[in-house]
Amino acid sequence: MMDFTLWDILRNLLIGLQWTLLLSLVAFVCGGIAGLLVLLARLSPLSAPRILARGYIELFQGTPLLMQLFLVFFGIALLGIDVSPWLAAACALTLFTSAFLAEIWRGCVESITRGQWEAAESLAMSRLETLRHVVLPQALRIAVAPTVGFSVQVVKGTAVTSIIGFTELTKTGSMLANATFEPFMVYGFVALGYFLLCYPLSLAAYRLERRLNVTA
């Protein structure tokens, strides 16, 4: 039996926090790239990719992140690949993030008025050119605030990966709570850690939203 000083607890939680941060970044970047592909499918003039993208979004928005994690964790194992909690967590969170970002961005693209599309068409621009030069630059501006806002959900989502054994902040907290018999303090610190990551993002989203609304 070893004794934990306050410093031991904080140091271990900081290590966990780093993994939370890293997983959030990976999920956000990979999810953003995948989300862009889902978005393009969702906006496609062909109906097959549109329906597929809609089903994809519906699936990930309508099921618990925990179940998505378990399915990826045990699903990759079925393929005969030895799966680490880190890989499963990164894959599942990427899928989850991509579905939500695609849906957020679709709302932004659809808020660009019809007239813009028609104007581009009358200039003989192709669909892709219209997207690239007319719609996306404007949609991107509108998308910044909700995208930053959603990053908070990604950071919070990483907490669930503790259940499949990925040692991030929550898992570190659970282990420390069991070892020290100080769950009140440890989970208080864990909550504080998430708050310190998320609150600046929330504030940034709120400020961006207000600033862009004023000028828009």
């Binding site: 618990p64 908070v152 669930v160 909550a191 929330s202």
Partner: protein, 221 residues
């Protein structure tokens, strides 16, 4: 060697799955009623800047919205006993859901209340409506009507989030799934069917809330 799927091994426990699903729905129903109730109170205090409660609710909303649900749950279930507050796993799960939904619905409903034009309140007082009547017919129902879609989405998010309550041994749907896969070692099939059940429940709740909105809330303008 190709993997042989065996869904029958899961389906023989379908009574456990359905019971778990019923518990999840029950948790969600209680959590929603109390959570939205808390949200209405918080929204009024915040929208009308009633001090010091507006401030207190402001801090509560930010604390809850910027921390994960599972940490809130663990804090309530494992942490509160240090203060002498010992809750059963059901009580802890419901309390966590109420506190979580309460914070989100405070902000959602507040946006609705603040979108009500001031002239509406003046019109109500010109019609000699009492404060309570004004609140009920002129403020609350139109406000709820405006934000009903956002509130519905949040309720579904809370239902899906309740899956992590299995971690404190609340016997809801994901607990049933964990139990079944520990018996038959068919983890993928078990979680696939469970996920499908969650999806059906999410779609069902969305339809139900849309109907409630059309029938009782949106029409009252």
């Amino acid at each position: 060697m190709a993997y042989q799927f065996d869904f029958a091994a899961v389906l023989q426990h379908s009574d456990l799955l359905l019971q778990g699903a019923a518990f999840t729905l029950g948790l969600t129903a209680i959590g929603t009623l109390l959570g939205v109730g808390l949200g209405i109170v918080g929204a009024i205090l915040r929208a009308w800047r009633i001090r010091p409660f507006a401030r207190i609710f402001g801090v509560y909303v930010e604390l809850i919205r910027n921390t994960p649900f599972i940490v809130q749950l663990f804090f309530i279930f494992f942490g509160l006993p240090s203060l002498g507050v010992r809750l059963s796993e059901w009580e802890a799960a419901i309390l966590a859901m109420v506190i979580n939904l309460g914070a989100y619905s405070t902000e959602i409903i507040r946006a609705g209340i603040q979108a009500i034009p001031h002239g509406q309140l003046e019109a109500a007082s010109a019609l000699a409506m009492s404060r309570f009547e004004t609140f009920r017919h002129v403020v609350l129902r139109p406000a709820l009507g405006k934000v009903w879609p956002a509130l519905s989405s949040q309720i579904i998010i809370v239902m899906l989030g309740s899956a992590v309550c299995s971690q404190i041994s609340t016997e809801e749907l994901s607990f049933a799934a964990n139990f079944i896969q520990s018996r038959n070692f068919r983890a993928f099939e078990t979680y696939l069917l469970t996920t499908a059940l969650y999806l059906i429940m999410a779609i069902g709740i969305r339809q139900l809330l849309a109907w409630v909105g059309r029938r009782f809330i949106m029409g009252a303008r």
